[in-house]
Symmetry: C2
Subunit: 391 residues, 2 copies
Amino acid sequence: MENFNFYSPTEFVFGKDRENECGKYVKKYGGTKVLVHYGSGSAIRSGLLDRVKKSLEAEGIAYVELGGVQPNPRDTKIYEGIDLCRKEGVDFILSVGGGSCIDSSKGIAAGVCYDGDFWDMYEGKAPVSAALPIGTVLTIAAAGSEGSGASVVTKEEGMWKRDIGSDIVRPRFSILNPALTCTLPAYQTACGATDIMAHVFERYFTNTPEVEVTDRLCEAILLTMIKETPRVIEDPNNYEARANIMWAGTVAHNDIIGVGRSQDWNSHKIEHELSGLYDCAHGAGLAVVMPAWMEFVYKHNVMRFAQMAVRVWGCEMNFENPEETAVKGIKAFRKFLSEIGMPINFEQLGAKEEDIPELVRKLGVEGKTGGFVALSPEDVAEIYRIAVRAK
Amino acid sequence: MENFNFYSPTEFVFGKDRENECGKYVKKYGGTKVLVHYGSGSAIRSGLLDRVKKSLEAEGIAYVELGGVQPNPRDTKIYEGIDLCRKEGVDFILSVGGGSCIDSSKGIAAGVCYDGDFWDMYEGKAPVSAALPIGTVLTIAAAGSEGSGASVVTKEEGMWKRDIGSDIVRPRFSILNPALTCTLPAYQTACGATDIMAHVFERYFTNTPEVEVTDRLCEAILLTMIKETPRVIEDPNNYEARANIMWAGTVAHNDIIGVGRSQDWNSHKIEHELSGLYDCAHGAGLAVVMPAWMEFVYKHNVMRFAQMAVRVWGCEMNFENPEETAVKGIKAFRKFLSEIGMPINFEQLGAKEEDIPELVRKLGVEGKTGGFVALSPEDVAEIYRIAVRAK
């Protein structure tokens, strides 16, 4: 096991009706003037936004609002948020939405405290050294942004997707009410589930030996997703299944299951170019990329893929031919994705084979990019081509 | 799943040589005058205490020392610590040792900030409302106290064992170097492993339905312990196995695997009277009590015990007779405990059947005590009797 630090100070407030306590938690964490940041109209239509505002009012906390965060959140909204916060003297950001909304909130929170163009931080030209405190009311189990220091933002001009990672933008509290996710359409639910599973796989495929405890924890989350996802696709109002998925989504990405081991993250990078170019859902892009990536790299460590096949997908181990077991596991994953309604190839995603050179160019892979297996631009192109052909 | 809050703000600093950074972390968390609290002479003999002091000196941090914490830490040492801290103007406690040492440190930290007798808090007569900040350098993987708000202390007069639980006494940071545990004798190592597994089982046996994610996380920790414990018993210097056990021990008890479900904790209560009366190791007492408790309660939910047998102990499910599978799982647990060198009955522990009425009396069970199965005093006596006969 490698040396590591693990720090996850976010207070998670989980369960039915907990959004009605958001005012109390904003107060607890020092907010006096709040930016309520949200995405689509569904937070308005469902009455969620009203409940949030009522909870703030009950605590006598002033607020301003900024809605309209898009999936794959844009830099333009963040500039707007930074201006609004400065003008209104906002000292706390309350993010009501999914990963895109929370990622946008993190950009605003850091941007308000930075003198230059906030995009500098996303391009790695400036460190994140201060941010307004953030709280969240999560509406989609997917990105894990409610318990992480990560934020991914798209620059509208050129559709560049870049990220930051810093404890400074970790939410102070995150309210997780599984019931809020019951209104999600099946497609978005499945996208979220795929994202959660991908967060585990990015950690699972490691070159660090002897990491049984985190291996087992990773498998625990995957087994949960395999059981619970089809249940919510079949019955969107299954609160218990929604609750299991929601906690799995948080645990999958606050890194308690990924510490002390090398991680991969190439599938995320390869996917980011798909959602950057086609503006598709991140989870849908991952469903296309991740099994293709697995097929490209599995020979690097056949026994690890066999372990996944046996422990996660319940395949019988073929002791005479472990490679057959490894391949079966990857096939089981793709079959599962297809069954929950995810695209599994370029056509189903709405991507085009002829764009592959452009996708590779934008990814900007110079030389080899590390992780489980270092990939050259040509390797990345081949992974995209596998994803074209997949069925 | 039940509503819950999860809050684990401790910064975990894990890996080889990390104790040399303790001065840096004390500084980070605001300490200027430190009580270095430790247990036995082994911290001195191994040179650990010297490295800790050197690290404090390198940061220019003043300190006083208080050693001699016993296993099953005593109120008398805590009174001594409180006096010393007040006299010396200590503002931070650095605990160098195992669970007993950390529990003692929590008692001192809370006691310094309380006007009356600190024991009031352990008897539930006063809340824990303030405490000095605490950091730890862990030397035994067992109690999970490095990542919890719990502290168990024994009142020397009458050997009463009582506890507190409060976020206020959670360590600010905990340094976990698995190499520090390599010098532990096999018996203490096995006691620690048993304690870790017991922390999982106390959460695993729940009456809350539909808690797949935490079930699977619990099973992940148990599977890790079943793999890694025999390896460290065989080769005490196996760093990788020690590392897996150490992280498992922390995850087992910071409650990320136990949220949203009813928990039991009767085995811990029943054990506390054994270690209270005989001053035996807590883990050894648990090895005697826990399988006996399982045998007494398994009929309450045969399928849950069958799940443990199949998923944790690798038993074949007997679909015609699940009870047989359930019983096999319990037997496998006791066999495992015996194989790692733990006592499994009263005689091996040094306990006496004739003391059972006294043990039950001191536990002070009035009416029924809750958890997975509510137990009457007679039920507790029967569990002790099962533990007498076990082999």
